[in-house]
Symmetry: C2
Subunit: 355 residues, 2 copies
């Protein structure tokens, strides 16, 4: 905290919340033109919302899926807990199938399902998974604030930070991971400028990161994804910070398509490249080859809104994520502290043997 | 020509042409949804067309500007050649100010202006610059076919070639530079697949390259710019070929924003990276620091058609070009042959001392 006189507090957006038996979310497909909240009382609608990117961002879809399980528990007409568990298992499968790459989805679903299995009555299970899910949502914000504080210590005053996609309050319950670090640096009184990449094709950078940083009064400039190499080469960036959808025990990071090329260019120009991710994003069991990189629909690429921007019949390759190898990563910022290479030992220490 | 049995001829689109005293162009802002031809009989309209990207691509804007000079010559009410030269000088300035980075614009304007200065009467000047401009247009296609043949010799059967932006028939009078190489390889009977990047923000890859390659029956897949590092890292690409807006005597290449990061990633994965450019794209006089990188309007980034894709008031940085250093370039394909590093000597030999 170098400039306590400038200390400010920002109030970020709340992405997903449990309100009176319903799940309330910002409909992120409507941003940046309209800030619309939607509410769901069926888990099937939550699954659709995850799939169609009404809610996105690894931590946010984890919490949304947990709340989806709560809806399923209240939707269920089960008279006994065996039937309820079987209904919850069906909901688990539906919610899990929505998106394959982010680990937090599976983590959150496994956690609620494990809680449910401990219960001995319908009411007990309902109560326990709702408590678990609300706690998960609350912890998400606390976790991000811890990530923010650890990350903010890395940042000097007057830095320009490049970020890709949206690892902000809109990717989490609130505060954000990569953008949480930026928020914490700002709250600590540091002057920070952010360069946000558009992040085609879904444009989470333009629509979400630019929106939420402006909302919080943080200095942000938008660039096309094609300009990221140029700005990194021109000495315009002091540091890159991104989020993650899955971090393997080796330190390989699955994150939004385009992350890898930014990491490679940052290395070329000797710019520190950081990943901000909570423990729930780590996957110590899987091998690199096991992870499915989601390929999303071609319409994301050939249309923007109703406007056709490519020939209707053109073949499209639209992978949603890529892999950044650990040798391109300067550090991984977690709620337990910042890990530096080699990552394997540090990751094992903070996550423990159980995951 | 390895597979003479498969020899095919493709008929590319004609980007700009002189027809009955008018300049006729494809309006590239309407592609890919509509193939519309526009005609102009005032040089001011040609200048506006260049500025607003109705016509784009370094060779195509060179020829368009030359035809603009012809229109100016016929528009002029001058009774003597001194007055005509002064009218042409005004047109020269207007046309030259449209876009700063591509050298072909200046090259074409200088050539027509020099021709005009040789004339001794209004009619003689009109005739001579029209002949010069039509010859320039014809030569553009011949030049591209030579580039195509030299480039095609580099390409093996069954390659996947990644290209960025549009260095195709739509960037030239016809046939194209980078895509001319691909056309020539196909005409020589080789099986070629193309990966085209979208090329945000103006989307010349989606709108133009995907359109013209499909038009010619060439196998093309479209990827978001964010996926280029991923496809290069996954062994999906055998070769990169791009065009150029300006090549310095050192071999530094100014080309569409995003070229540099692709070149750096290609080098990282040991994939050959070629630039296809006619002699008219070379600038032996300027220093790196002298070249203005055009910054285009923020609306290109925050809007797609009428749809707002970013907060209306967000700050935008929208450079139209970047710089690829010679150490990332495997070869430069010209109508005189393929140059390899170190480029300086080869460039001097093919261009001669006069430019």
């Amino acid at each position: 905290m170098r400039h306590p006189k400038n200390k400010v507090t920002v109030k970020p957006l709340l992405t997903v919340k449990w309100v009176n038996g319903k799940v309330v979310m910002i409909d992120q497909t409507k941003l940046p033109t309209r800030l619309v909240y939607v509410e769901y009382n069926k888990y099937e609608d939550v699954a659709r919302a995850i799939k169609s990117l009404v809610v996105r961002g690894a931590p946010a879809i984890g919490v949304s899926a947990a709340f989806g399980m709560c809806l399923a528990a209240f939707q269920s007409k089960a008279r006994d807990h065996h039937k309820l568990l079987s209904d919850l298992e069906a909901a688990y499968e539906t919610l899990k199938s929505t998106r394959p790459t982010a680990i937090n989805l599976t983590w959150a679903l496994d956690l609620t399902m494990a809680k449910a299995r401990e219960g001995n009555s319908v009411n007990e299970i309902r109560k326990s998974i709702l408590e678990t899910s609300i706690k998960m949502a609350d912890e998400d914000i606390n976790t991000n604030k811890k990530i923010g504080q650890f990350g903010a210590e890395l940042i000097s005053n007057d830095e320009t930070i490049l970020t890709h996609c949206n690892a902000g309050s809109l990717a989490t319950v609130g505060y954000g991971t990569a953008l949480g670090v930026i928020r914490a640096a700002k709250e600590n009184g540091k002057e920070i400028r952010v360069i946000a990449t558009e992040t085609r094709p879904v444009m989470q950078g333009s629509r979400l990161t630019a929106f939420e940083l402006k909302h919080d009064g943080i200095n942000v400039s938008l660039i096309p994804d094609t300009a990221s190499g140029y700005v990194l080469s021109q000495g315009m960036v002091n540091r890159v910070i991104v989020g993650a959808d899955r971090v393997l025990r080796t330190g390989h990071v699955f994150n939004k398509i385009g992350t890898y090329q930014i990491a490679a260019l940052a290395r070329r120009h000797e710019i520190p490249f950081y990943v901000a991710a909570p423990k729930s994003t780590f996957d110590l069991k899987s091998e690199l080859k096991d992870i499915v990189i989601e390929e999303r629909d071609r319409t994301e690429v050939i249309r923007v809104g109703n406007r056709l921007v490519a020939p209707l019949q053109v073949r499209v390759f639209n992978p949603a994520f890529d892999i950044t190898p650990p040798d391109l990563i300067t550090g991984i910022i977690t709620e337990k502290g910042v890990l530096f290479a080699p990552f394997e030992e540090g990751i094992r220490q903070i996550i423990g043997p159980d995951r």
